[in-house]
């Protein structure tokens, strides 16, 4: 990167020692927050997955949520499949998650007989290329019930229990049963990259562990916006990059330019311990070393009480603590000290005289 710049410019481009880069990063990410527009720009590309964007997405990333509100995965394909739409479609169909309720017209439970009647939609069965038989055998594999095919669009399930609550719960469970595709992969759609004309699959969920096992998927290029899934599959470094990348993407979408360095610092802050920590009460701020810093942020009483009970010590080195007692900060210009103290100066003078 640095090579491009004119001679001598690099040294002056260096960050200054003591620079409070954290504060600057926080301001750089937080300040444009007010400018964000909530209107979602759904691109003219018709068949794409809708994605949370703007401030809500920013908050979501920073919160390190278990799962994003709208997860998606870009599944790139290997050389054999990426050029052909038919082959790509085939892979998409293998991945595309179909639940019973997606193909059923109705799922009706009868409390008196303990039977659940599933009426399937012929059209949906055809579209997804599945039969009543395959659904029935999937249901039979579930514990506590037997399924039998009545005709090509009807399945009856007899539940072993007579408990009304359990019957209802079972009916719901059948509805959510994945009957085709990959469990937790979501809806999968084929898309085409404009530049390279390469076909790829977008799915509306993030079970990348399982998706990677599908033959024809390029294992080196998969991408999901689910940061935790990235962490679990590829480790903390990948998660760090994913956080920075997602932040960058979200801000760019809104037409806000923030230097990558700020985003990388935030991503590093969230991951430097080896685990993903969120920004807030239960993460970075809640686990600070200083009692006062935690107490001044949130849950004041709790932190003071615990500190007292364990006999905790506060070294008063952070920003918050210094402000509380009115002491000079150890950041920025407060970071430098005199190399020679006044009283030592006097000593030096004496030695010289000798």
């Amino acid at each position: 990167m640095a090579r491009e710049y004119r001679k001598g410019a690099v040294s002056s481009m260096e960050v200054t020692d003591g620079e409070p880069v954290g504060v600057i990063a926080a301001q750089s990410i937080g300040e444009p927050g007010t400018q964000m527009i909530l209107r979602s720009f759904h691109r003219a590309g018709v068949a794409s997955v809708t994605v949370t964007s703007g401030l809500p997405r920013l908050v979501e990333i920073v919160d390190a949520k278990k799962k994003p509100a709208t997860p998606f995965t870009y599944i790139y394909l290997d050389e054999h499949s990426r050029k052909s739409f038919e082959k790509s479609l085939e892979i998409a169909k293998k991945i595309n998650e179909v639940k019973t309720k997606d193909v059923a017209r109705s799922i009706v439970e009868s409390f008196s007989t303990g039977k659940i009647k599933i009426t399937l939609s012929k059209q949906m069965l055809e579209v997804n290329e599945i039969t009543a038989g395959s659904i029935s055998s999937k249901i039979s594999k579930m514990e506590g019930a037997d399924a039998s095919v009545e005709d090509s669009t009807t399945i009856t399930v007899s539940v072993h229990t007579r408990n009304l609550k359990e019957i209802r719960a079972f009916a719901v469970k059948i509805g959510n049963l994945t009957v085709n595709g990959i469990d937790g992969a979501g809806r999968a759609v084929v898309n085409q990259e404009p530049g390279t004309n390469e076909f790829y699959v977008i799915s509306a969920d993030s079970n990348i562990d399982k998706i990677l096992e599908v033959p024809g998927v390029d294992r080196s290029r998969i991408y999901t916006n689910d940061i935790l899934a990235m962490y679990k599959t590829f480790g903390i470094e990948a998660a760090r990059n994913a956080i920075a990348h997602e932040l960058d993407k979200t801000l760019k979408e809104q037409g806000i330019s923030v230097d990558m360095r700020h985003l990388l610092l935030l991503a590093d802050a969230m991951t430097f311990t080896g685990k993903i920590k969120n920004v807030g009460r239960h993460g970075l701020s809640g686990e600070k070393n200083s009692v006062f810093a935690r107490a001044a942020y949130e849950e004041t009483v709790k932190h003071l009480v615990n500190a007292a009970a364990f006999g905790e010590v506060d070294n008063m080195s952070g920003v918050t603590e210094s402000v509380l007692v009115g002491k000079q900060l150890s950041l920025g210009t407060g970071n430098v000290e005199l190399a020679i103290r006044k009283q030592d100066m006097a000593k030096i003078g004496k030695k010289e005289k000798k």
Partner: protein, 889 residues
Amino acid sequence: MQAENIKLIKFGVLSPEQIKRLGVLKITVPDTYNEDGYPIDGGLVDQKMGVIDPGLICKTCGAKAKVCPGHFGYLDLVRPAIHSEFSKVIYLILNSVCQNCSRVLFSDEELEEMVTAIKESAAVETPMHAAINTENMALPSNEIKIEANGEQGKEKEMKGAKAKESRTKELVNAKSSKEKTTALKKLKDVRKCPHCDFVQKKLKFEAPTYFTLGDRKLKPDEIKDMLSSISDADLRNLEIDPKTSRPEWLILSSLLVPPVNVRPSVTLETGERSEDDLTHKLVDVIRINQRLEQNINAGAPPIIIDDLWELLQYHINTYFNNETSGIPPARHRSGRALKTLAQRLKGKEGRFRYNLSGKRVNFSARTVISVDPYIDLNQVGVPKEIASKLTVPFYVTEWNIEEAKRILSSEEYPTALNVIAKDGKRKRVTETNRKELLDALSQGDIIERQLMDDDIVIFNRQPSLHRMSMMAHRVKVVPGKSFRMNFCVTHPYNADFDGDEMNLHIPQTLEAQAEARYLMAVNDQVFSPRDGEAIISGDEDDITGLHLLTMDDTEVTKEETLYLLGSVGIFELPKQKKAGIFSGKAIFSMLLPKGMDIEQKTRHGIVRIKDGELVEGTITKDTYKGKSKILAYLAVTYGMEELTRFIGLSARLADAYVTLSGSTVGIKEYRISKKIAEEKENAVRATMDTINKLVEQYRKRKLEPLLGYTRRQSLEKMILAELTKLTDLNGEIIMKHTDPQNHAFKMVSAGSRGSIFNFVQMSMLLGQQSTMSGGRIKRGYMSGRVLPHMRPKSVDPISRGFVLSNFYSGLTPIDLYMHAIGSRTSVVYKALLTARSGYLQRRLMNALQDYYIYKDKSVRDTYGNIIETIYAGDGIDPMKVLLAKLGKK
């Protein structure tokens, strides 16, 4: 007092002995004043605990009200009570030790492990090493999944083993009480004591203070006994410091009573005294305590005693925290809940966030702001009224004593308001003592003189969202009552002049003044650290002006040229284009330095400057603000001071030119020709046809659905795409046919204000309303329509919020309604957004505030953790990246 001396603060619990030692008197009377209005001895406002009324003298230290810091009293509880705030900790500790032998529930092996773990962590004591040490890096060793190969059973086994192994290590490595708590919680699951084999009974805890062991309710004194029998050594094994925090001290047998200074009473106009909430609560505690004592002494039945005991517990709970869940809050006579200790500390208005993290300052001013084109970017106009009240310290030395005397002797505006003699006493300068002070003035004194031109001050507008919200300016004393500022610095402050107020701070020490002058000055803030773009620059009319001035065919007469250049202080003429005619480009070039050679390609064409002459191109927003090469070049080659001078002068020149040439937007700018109207008509018809065809296909079930979508969803998506296309097409039509002389259009092409979409909305059509949730408007009646004027379940553009009319010709009633839906939604969202983004900013700030660049360019926090080994991987300041890129030749 110097806070620099505070090295550390240790937290702990007061023992009953300490409480008694700390207290200057034992409080026995549950009352405050007697009938004569004198404090009762042994009561809650006993003068031994300090005095608050001026004139009275403290009976303990003999000092006057303002000097006496106050002294604690104490109260003996007849029966012990649990400190309710600590009950969770008590539960944790009780669960961590054996109910029989009071040993820790760690096995001997675990304890041994702990000793080695402590040794290990002690070996890496320096914070830097602590961060490098692998253990503290907390690799996700026990959490990471070795999943990919699918050996899930094995993995679970490993997880279990690791968890057990790390129980003690986790405790030792815990950096804060919070981490210790989570580590200790694991001991709750130990069923059998590893030391005496006693099977632990189930200990139940119910908020706020009820403990049950097995099926027997534990009383505070029993809990106290259980806690007392834990040995000091075992407490250390639990990472609790027995010196400062013996757990039995968490059960109160004496209560510390805060001095009256902490709970001052107010005298109302009627002469009636109104006591502080804390005093009220303490009265309750003492009263119940006495009743309990009387009953015990009288040998009352245990039920009554237990009832009173519980009541005492209640009052103590609410004394500490009146918002504990599970108990009703204690109320004032009026029904208002009392504000007790916890409430004083908590939340935004609590002691921490309101008084400790936020501080009030002197030497500051606030008033309305207004523009002044003749004030420099780095100046601020301060009204004389304000300047004559604010002061700057003037240190009298051997060399400036004459100057000091001159200031002090003046009876008019630039004079001194106070003199601080060497002994630190501040004396107000008045007409009567001026002479006297003048005679006594000597080296080492400080005089506080009024604010004068060129003093350095910090100017600020809230909300202070980034560092450019506080910049250092030079004072320019002006008449009037408002602060004046240059228009170009409006952007970093996000200020406008519709009544905005701003704050002014006067740095008082020489160090602070130097820092402000060299680090916070407007000059040094031109480029934003967010992305390196110029945030201070001319905008709006300035851009329009320069755009018009630098157009190829702009010709200016000699008189006009003299006026223009005169307004920026240039009194020579550029080269003539023809006799008596000067080109606009040449006039602009007068502001550029000789030898400047740059070229910048933008969307609006190329801008080429050769040897300080604008030879090709027209100035637009891309070349005048943000990523402007002109600004970057000037900064790199000539420095920030020259840059700010250029920004100020060019903006003034631009304003002079728009004033001269005139640029106005009237309704005629938005009137469209017949030709455009026709093209619009055609475009609309074509789109409606396509949509009708789509709907037709859908009705006939012939619409090919998009993969992964139902037919209905596909139809919706296709219609929306068509409508978006239509809106864009209208933009193109406008762009193609609008007269380039149209003033509004000129603003759009200069990039100073407005966009093609604004044009479309005013002249062509409003477009789709309310796409907030990503779709068209669909809410309304159950029958599937937005308004009763439409057919149920209609999908055509008009009935789903696509507005074909424009602001020029007016909206139909249906259009108006649809537009109102969109407007309201965005108003609601905007309110929501500001609240959310404010909280986000607070959280980010709190999480990242301690990070700084260490001398090896790594990023560390003030506790010694390393966050990045080299800042962002390259150690380059984001503020300077664009500068280096654009500033080169």
